[in-house]
């Protein structure tokens, strides 16, 4: 039983990271109906941004993280204006391919700048092993879970009560009407990209602390896809639930079957969900029959 609890716990930590990435996916999808394949490598970019800021300026972890999030947000909104804006109204496939191209580009640039060597964060998040009732928990994982929980609540409040959040919801609900009411769709899109990039950065830093800073982080971002689909592509609470489900399932699978079963478990769940409920657990049902 203690093994089970420990595995669930690290699954929750992993799931928290997936949730952050999935929230970014959902946000961009809600606003622009684009499935952003570059999210994983935005995460990679964020991790290295934070690494650079922390090693170059020797600032406290929180300040460095904040700076990295800010820079990533600026890059994210730049991506919208430079790359995604010309693609408005183009076929779905082309838009997806552009984000794939972007993903390849980001990864290659990071590789060019930093090389393919593993790196470790200079400022470690405190990571001791806590023992509660015989089960051992890592403090780092606890920190991640709590931080993500706080961030998700903050984001939910922002989305629910702030003016910008209202505008974003309006645009997601009905873009044409929102634009007619004077909302700048362009602004909303770029803000969505900025927030998504910021979230990816937070996720990237956590992921980097869970393992190491290397180019593999971008591929982990791909594993957030099952999380998004399980929750429903346009559902924000769905991202949370999906992230947790996938994280825990992967952790249990890795613990009880074997390490390489990780990817398969997430993607098998994805496939099953697509067969039974293609719109996800909390997504909107759209009926198309041919």
């Amino acid at each position: 039983v203690t093994t089970f609890i420990q595995l669930v716990f690290s699954g929750l930590a992993l799931g928290s990271v997936y949730t952050m990435v999935a929230l970014g996916f959902v946000l961009i999808y809600k606003a622009t109906e684009i499935l952003n394949f570059a999210q994983g490598n935005l995460m990679l970019m964020g991790a290295y941004l934070a690494l650079t800021i922390l090693t170059q300026f020797h600032v406290p972890l929180v300040v460095g993280l904040g700076l990295a999030v800010f820079v990533a947000a600026v890059i994210g909104s730049a991506v919208h204006f430079v790359v995604m804006r010309p693609m408005l109204g183009k076929p779905l496939f082309s838009v997806v391919m552009v984000t794939l191209g972007l993903s390849i580009l980001i990864q290659a640039i990071v590789q060019l700048l930093y090389g393919s060597v593993d790196r470790v964060y200079p400022v470690q998040v405190p990571n001791r092993i806590l023992t509660i009732a015989g089960a051992r928990f890592s403090q780092l994982e606890l920190t991640i879970i709590i931080t993500v929980a706080v961030l998700v609540v903050l984001f939910a409040l922002f989305f629910r009560y702030s003016k910008l959040g209202l505008l974003m919801r309006a645009t997601a609900e009905d873009q044409e009407v929102a634009v007619m009411m004077g909302v700048s769709a362009d602004m909303i899109f770029s803000v969505s990209w900025a927030i998504a990039a910021g979230m990816a950065t937070v996720a990237g830093v956590f992921m980097a602390n869970l393992s190491q800073v290397n180019l593999g982080i971008g591929d982990i971002g791909l594993r957030a896809f099952p999380a998004v689909v399980v929750g429903g592509l346009e559902s924000i609470p769905g991202a949370l639930i999906g992230g947790v489900i996938i994280g825990v399932a992967e952790s249990l699978g890795a613990g009880y079957i074997n390490g390489s079963a990780r990817d398969v478990i997430a993607f098998t769940i994805l496939l099953i969900i697509l067969m039974i409920r293609p719109f996800g657990l909390l997504g909107q049902r759209t009926i198309i029959r041919v």
Partner: protein, 360 residues
């Protein structure tokens, strides 16, 4: 009479495979060149470089076959798929099961791999009746990871980390060994696939696929069995790709699951996007473009580095990364600026000359 464009005056003419005599001549020249290409390279002191050229030509032909087959699914039928690497892996897997485990000869193994592909493709195509667009993309991506896992487990059970081993295939006493010999097999595969797809699109079956892509509801009303068309497209496309996977496995001689990464599937999709969706010519051009691009960029950078030493930083190990950056940029630029791809550019050039000087 001045020929304005290659307009056809009869149905027969419009249905012909090669519509004008100019095209016929060009095709003949290209085909003749493709036939003598490996022979034309001399075996002199530059053996290594020649070997690389033939190797590159083989890769390009493999890419052409795969891209044309994928184009049948994505370009003609409009079913987005990231499953190409998975189907290549299934082909290699089938080749190992039939060829090594059951000791069947090479000439039997490849058709069997194709049949495996047909069956698996039809099964995988079934979800396409239920999910579409982005969801189908995600489903094929899921397939990719699942196949990769299955492949790894089989590989570990059958051969260990070193990978699946394949002998040089023996076709009726003739052993395929050198790249030059493989080249002709791949050439046949590529030409055969192109002809097959081109002919299919002239056939009722193929036109049904295009109708499903453009307007599935309208296609259904016109009597096209949409479900059947989608499954057929999946089955045929993956059948070809699996057979290609089997050939690839024998050619490389040693195959691991890392030979079929997700980036390979992305590469194939990029080929048909850059080339131009829904066109055999486009898929060929795209495949050539993507496979030859790294070499061309490196040649270019090497040349430029001789005059501008600062550029030499982008050769060697950094060169590969530099290639990737150019590759990513090209994908983005093509999609933003030239969505019709290389086939579109080619059509523009032709239009410019046929209509010159009255280009409007």
């Amino acid at each position: 009479m001045i020929r304005a464009l290659a307009y056809q005056t009869s149905y027969r003419g419009d249905m012909r495979l090669v519509k004008t005599w100019v095209m016929r001549v060009w095709l003949f020249v290209i085909f003749a060149f493709a036939l003598v290409f490996p022979i034309s390279l001399n075996d002199g002191e530059t053996q290594l470089a020649d070997g690389f050229q033939v190797y590159l030509a083989c890769t390009a032909l493999v890419a052409i076959t795969g891209a044309v087959a994928l184009n049948l699914l994505t370009g003609y039928t409009g079913q987005i798929s990231l499953g190409n690497a998975a189907f290549l892996a299934i082909g290699a897997l089938a080749a190992h099961v039939f060829g090594i485990r059951f000791h069947l000869p090479f000439v039997v193994v490849v058709p069997l791999a194709m049949v495996t592909g047909l069956v698996v493709g039809a099964v995988v195509g079934l979800p396409s009746l239920r999910v579409r667009g982005l969801y189908l993309l995600l489903a094929t991506m899921a397939l990719h990871f699942i196949v990769n896992y299955v492949f790894l487990q089989y590989q570990l059970a059958a051969a260990g980390v070193s990978g699946l081993q394949f002998p040089h295939p023996n076709i009726a006493g003739f052993v395929l060994k050198a790249d030059r010999q493989w080249y002709y097999l791949f050439l046949a595969a590529a030409v055969g696939t192109c002809l097959f797809v081109k002919n299919l699109t002239r056939h009722a079956e193929g036109r049904a696929l295009v109708a499903v892509r453009d307007q599935d509801v309208a296609a259904m009303i016109l009597g096209v069995n949409v479900a059947r068309s989608k499954v057929v497209a999946f089955a045929v496309s993956s059948g070809i790709i699996c057979a290609l996977g089997a050939l690839l496995a024998y050619w490389q001689g040693n195959v691991t699951n890392e030979n079929f990464p997700l980036s390979l599937a992305i590469d194939y999709t990029v080929m048909i996007i850059i080339g131009g969706l829904g066109s055999v010519t486009g898929a060929i051009l795209g495949a050539l473009f993507v496979t030859l691009l790294p070499t061309v960029i490196q040649q270019f950078v090497q040349g430029a580095a001789n005059t501008l030493p600062a550029l030499s930083a982008f050769t060697g190990a950094k060169g590969a990364i530099f290639n990737t950056i150019v590759y990513g940029l090209l994908i983005i630029l093509f999609l933003i600026l030239k969505p019709a791809g290389l086939a579109g550019i080619w059509a523009d050039i032709k239009r410019f000359f046929t209509r010159w000087p009255y280009s409007y």
